[in-house]
């Protein structure tokens, strides 16, 4: 009896293997083109797991090897990988990056078409992802775009929610594709005047000038509204049009409090009420009798949570602590109350 039993068991095993999911069906990241290292892949997987936990969106990333048209490939992969299956409401997104054809496509499932229209997808690809890709920062481009996807999900969740009443599995070809411009080098900022009249300008006026520059998408790092250290830092940064739009949009509804100048009269802080949690404070230094925006502290001491609430990095030291002595902070550095 052992013979037939063994054969039956082998047949069952073969059937189970044959009927199971295709290889990598539920993997969040499939790097077939080898664009990501292990750490970057892990970071993307972590972010996309959090996106699923918080908003029930199943967001997959695939890097492809350029054998097929990216639009047709994305529709086919969406179905083959079952994007949206890891979401209880069938909310699926699939990002396909093809370095050979130098194309990128974000495919949007039926259930998310209302929340992520084609125009929005084209915007985040061209105004957020591609500037990072130009500098060869593939993982950063993916994650920076995920941030905008999260922000939109937050807004949608506040209103009617992400999923419509009726949803279908799969994708009908929604989304957008664009040239990825991988490693083509950053676009130099359009030469605009770097000299702004800052003599006698208050920190609030410097900040207003900064917002004006962001509104006109002027990423010039050499503006004299920045401190020398900030200029040096900004020259190494990728500042995307979408990030600049985002700053303008976020601070449009923030009610700035009175400037808080330190005893020496050399430092200043503009902060916002604690309840406006997305409005992080701004820091200024007086150099040669002119106020300048110090964004280096934003880089070292300010962090943002999953809901975009700002908090201080625990243990980070900075000279602007004097401006927050009347606030208390929780164990994670989030301001609690005034």
């Amino acid at each position: 009896m052992r013979g037939p039993q063994t054969i039956a068991a082998l047949i069952c095993l073969c059937l189970c293997v044959g009927c199971g999911s295709p290889a990598g069906r539920n993997e969040l990241v499939q790097d077939q083109a080898g664009l990501l290292d292990t750490g970057q892949r892990g970071r993307i997987e972590l972010f996309h797991t959090l996106l699923r936990d918080d908003f029930d969106i199943d967001y997959r990333v695939v890097t492809a090897d350029g054998e097929e048209d990216i639009d047709a490939l994305s529709a086919r992969l969406f179905e083959r990988l079952g994007a949206g299956e890891l979401s209880s409401s069938g909310l699926g997104l699939l990002l396909v990056i093809d370095p050979v054809q130098d194309r990128v496509r974000l495919e949007v499932g039926y259930a998310l078409e209302g929340s992520y229209p084609d125009a929005f997808v084209a915007y985040i690809e061209q105004r957020q992802m591609v500037p990072f890709f130009r500098s060869g920062r593939i993982a950063d481009g993916i994650l920076a775009t995920t941030e905008l996807i999260v922000q939109r999900a937050q807004r949608a969740a506040k209103n009617a929610g992400l999923a419509g009443e009726v949803w279908l599995e799969g994708s009908g070809g929604a989304g957008a594709s664009t040239t990825a411009h991988i490693d083509r080098g950053p676009i130099e900022p359009v030469a605009k005047t770097t000299a702004v009249q800052t003599v006698g300008a208050s920190p609030a006026e410097i900040l207003a000038e900064y917002f004006k520059r962001m509104q006109s998408r002027d990423a010039n790092p050499d503006l004299n509204i920045y401190t020398p250290a900030t200029r040096q830092m900004l020259r190494k940064w990728v500042i995307t049009p979408a990030q600049m739009d985002n700053i303008v949009k976020t601070y449009r509804n923030c009610d700035a409090q009175a400037e808080r100048i330190d005893a020496s009269g050399r430092l200043s802080v503009i902060r916002y009420p604690v309840r406006q949690r997305k409005c992080a404070p701004w820091f200024f230094v007086k150099i040669n009798d002119r106020w300048a925006l110090d964004l280096t502290v934003m880089q070292t001491a300010i962090r943002f949570g999953r809901d975009n609430s700002w908090h201080f990095e625990l243990g980070a030291e900075h000279p602007y602590e004097y401006a927050f002595t009347d606030w208390s902070f929780d164990a994670y550095g989030f301001p609690r109350h005034e």
């Binding site: 047709a72 529709a75 084609d118 125009a119 009908g172 070809g173 957008a176």
Partner: protein, 312 residues
């Protein structure tokens, strides 16, 4: 804004001539009815008749089976029954089983083919419905793109007009205007061709190779003309880098991709259905049930090139 309102506004502002506006308005009305077409309605009537006959046959077969299994052949209640003859004896089959087996065999000979018939017929109906569903999806995406035409024409026209008032030389604006007018006339003609073909009804058009090839050519032509309108903007860096233009371009490309995906799925559904009605025993049922071969939505000599227009 509704496409009709937009057309009224464009006509009032002189962007479209009254003739162009009227033609465009008519062509946007295409395919919004659920018309099945003459052949489709005839086929539906034929299938209803066939279903009635099938139901009657099945009812008769079940009646025979019920008689055989439940009631059984009647016997004179006054005559004592020879139980021994009815029972199976060693080496022989009793009278009861002979009668029972005969009736059961007749019933099974009627029921089994009918059930098989019904199953195969239903499977073909499902496959045909998948074709119609995939076609409806394709049509809805073609309509979606048609709705973009007024917005696209208006954005580019208004920009050209604005530029003429502010920055560029009048000659350049005139050249852009005449180019736009020429493309617009061609676009309206191609959209009208789609509209006329769509009037034939879904049930008919999916069975006509010629109509679907003509529709495919017309929809390709509309796509090319819409891209030509986008190309007019190529001479105007400010327009092409604007978010409004990016949005229009994204909507147009998104809709074209939806059309391609829907077309691919329609052709897959057609391939599955056509194979089913050609293979035995499906071909027998298809012939009697009026299941006709469906056409593929592609050009006779299909080119895989698609128009690509991208601005940095």
């Amino acid at each position: 804004m509704d496409s009709k309102d937009r057309l009224h506004r464009m006509e009032a502002d002189g962007i479209l001539t009254p003739e162009q506006a009227a033609m465009l308005r008519d062509s946007l009305e295409w395919g919004r009815t659920e018309a099945m077409g003459i052949a489709g309605e005839e086929r539906l009537r034929h299938r209803k008749t066939l279903s009635k006959w099938l139901l009657w046959l099945m009812a008769a077969a079940f009646a025979v089976a019920f008689y055989a299994l439940v009631i059984g052949p009647g016997a004179d209640p006054q005559t004592p029954q020879d139980v021994a003859a009815m029972m199976n004896q060693p080496g022989g089959i009793g009278e009861m089983n002979k009668g029972f087996s005969g009736l059961l065999a007749i019933a099974l000979l009627l029921i089994v083919p009918l059930i098989l018939w019904a199953l195969l017929h239903n499977s073909l109906v499902n496959k045909e419905e998948s074709v119609f569903k995939a076609w409806a999806q394709t049509e809805s995406n073609l309509e979606r793109r048609a709705d973009l035409i007024p917005a696209l024409v208006e954005t580019v026209s208004r920009y050209l007009r604005h530029e003429s008032e502010t920055l560029i030389a009048v000659t350049e604006q005139r050249s852009g205007d005449s180019e736009l007018k020429e493309v617009l006339d061609e676009l309206i003609a191609a959209q009208q061709a789609i509209s006329e073909l769509a009037q034939k009804g879904n049930g008919d058009i999916v069975e006509s190779e010629a109509d679907l090839a003509a529709l495919y050519a017309a929809q390709q032509s509309v796509g090319r003309r819409m891209h030509s309108i986008l190309a007019v903007a190529e001479s105007y860096p400010q327009l092409r880098s604007s978010d409004q233009f990016l949005e229009l371009q994204a909507q147009l490309e998104g809709t074209e991709n939806r059309i391609n995906v829907a077309r691919m799925r329609f052709n897959e559904a057609v391939a599955t259905y056509n194979a089913a009605i050609r293979k035995l025993p499906g071909s027998l049922i298809a012939r009697i049930g009026g299941f006709n071969r469906k056409a593929y939505f592609k050009a006779e000599d299909e080119s895989h090139e698609k128009p690509v227009l991208e601005f940095d």
